[in-house]
């Protein structure tokens, strides 16, 4: 069993998680990475995706995150996420609605809509649905 370190996941509206974990795997911009005890100082931006956390007692928890940054320093990891939900608190109905809305937007290709934003919204919705149905 590997040693545990501190993890904090914070979004603009709340502190999602604060506690000891053994391992954390994040969707970094340059690829997924895992953080274990005694990781070197590290800063990375995060993509939309899933974050795997192994708690101190060995339990696995998944979070759906919508982009952000992760920062590792002296066995303390700080994740500043735009959105973050544990897989069992995902609102499936809302995510489904968000997915169809984003798909419509992208399909319509009307003038004046923000394609990037719709694309990110779609990615977030799909990500939530994937994690939500897995739990």
């Amino acid at each position: 069993m590997s040693k545990a370190y501190d993890l904090k996941i914070i979004t603009p509206d709340r502190v999602v998680f604060e506690g000891k974990v053994q391992s954390l795997t994040c969707p970094g911009t340059e690829g997924r990475f895992q953080v274990l005890y005694n990781h070197a100082p590290f800063l990375s931006s995060l993509e939309v995706g899933s974050m795997d956390v192994t708690l101190e007692d060995g339990v696995h928890v998944m979070y759906a995150i919508g982009g952000g940054t992760a920062q590792v320093f002296h066995n303390a990891v700080l994740v500043l996420a735009d959105t973050a939900e544990r897989s069992d608190e995902i609102d499936m109905a809302r995510a489904t609605a968000a997915r169809s809305r984003a798909e419509q937007r992208l399909a319509a290709r009307e003038h004046g809509i923000d394609i990037d934003r719709a694309r990110i919204a779609l990615m977030r919705a799909v990500n939530r649905l994937k994690l939500g149905s897995a739990s």
Binding site: P12, D13, P41, L43, Q71, F73
Partner: protein, 301 residues
């Protein structure tokens, strides 16, 4: 002596008004609680984000990110005026409007004369004021301050960035009321863009993590991370401003309505006294008339 019925009518009128102000005070108090909670729950993120920004700012080469930092010449200014959508909150709105007008005419007088000062108004009060007086209002956001969310902040920031990036203005300032306490609001004028090159010293919790001599492995690169973080920082900056302004507004309204209720009570009390003495006077007069009449009758008998 004032007419009895008139006084009665005024008392009823004032009593009704005081009921309304009392209700508004209670509503504002409830909303204030929610607004305060929103600020408090946004604080950890704010502190950590500021720490991270400050750290990166001290390391990154600013010349490599010309899009965000100081420009040599300021040819235009945008002022974001954050007011409330409604009145009845004391000097909350007037203070902002006064400060904004002062800023436009004194600090940026020259640019204003050239028509290079633009405004974006958040909140109906400020919007109505500036549109009526023919200022160049290039954007308005009404009905958002009381329900501020990150997506709303993003939309506003997007609008601000458009003009900043195409060079319509080279400086963006934001004027709003900061929530100090229920009875006190601080008027703040903050520079929104360019991003200050020298970070503010970090005092809050986030600060201790950053050590200048630690070499972080940075992915993708410091520049790219900065480019990614700055828009986030701006969105969150604006969200914080909206949350502060909302809490300050509810506080101001609560105080104003409390004062109004107290005033109404005083007024009712003094009117009641006038009413009582008027009533007594009229009764005395009536008795005198009856007695006088009876005396006259007895005299003739």
């Amino acid at each position: 002596m004032a007419n009895l019925r008139d006084i009665k009518r005024r008392i009823t009128g004032i009593r009704n008004t005081s009921k309304i102000t009392q209700a508004m005070k209670l509503v504002a108090a409830a909303k204030l609680r929610r607004a305060q909670d929103a600020i408090i729950s946004a604080r950890p993120y704010a502190a950590e984000l500021r720490g991270l920004m400050a750290h990166l700012l001290s390391r990154v080469d600013k010349a490599s990110l010309p899009a965000w930092f100081e420009r040599e010449q300021v040819n235009g200014v945008l002022i974001v005026v954050v007011t409330a959508d409604r009145g009845l909150c004391g000097s909350f709105n007037t203070n902002i409007i006064k400060a904004a007008t002062n800023r436009i005419h004194n600090t940026y007088g020259e640019l204003y004369a050239k028509g290079a000062v633009k405004l974006i108004c958040v909140g109906k009060r400020g919007y109505q004021h500036f549109v009526k007086r023919d200022y160049e209002v290039i954007g308005k956001h009404l009905g958002v301050v009381n329900a501020a969310t990150l997506p709303i902040a993003k939309t506003i920031v997007g609008e601000i960035l458009d003009g900043f990036q195409n060079g319509t203005y080279d400086r963006v300032e934001i004027i709003y009321n900061e929530f100090k306490s229920i009875i006190q609001q601080n008027l703040k004028i903050e520079t929104f863009l360019p991003v200050p090159a020298e970070p503010e010293p970090v005092i809050e919790a986030g600060g201790h993590r950053y050590h200048e001599f630690v070499d972080y492995i940075v992915e993708p690169s410091e520049q790219a991370l900065m480019d990614y973080l700055i828009p986030k920082h701006l969105n969150f900056f604006l969200l914080r401003v909206l949350l502060e302004s909302n809490a300050a507004e509810q506080g101001a309204r609560m105080t104003a309505m409390d004062a109004a209720t107290t005033n109404a009570k005083d007024l009712i009390q003094s009117l009641q006294l006038i009413y009582n003495s008027a009533r007594q006077a009229s009764i005395t007069k009536e008795i005198l008339e009856i007695v006088g009449g009876a005396e006259a009758l007895r005299a003739t008998n």
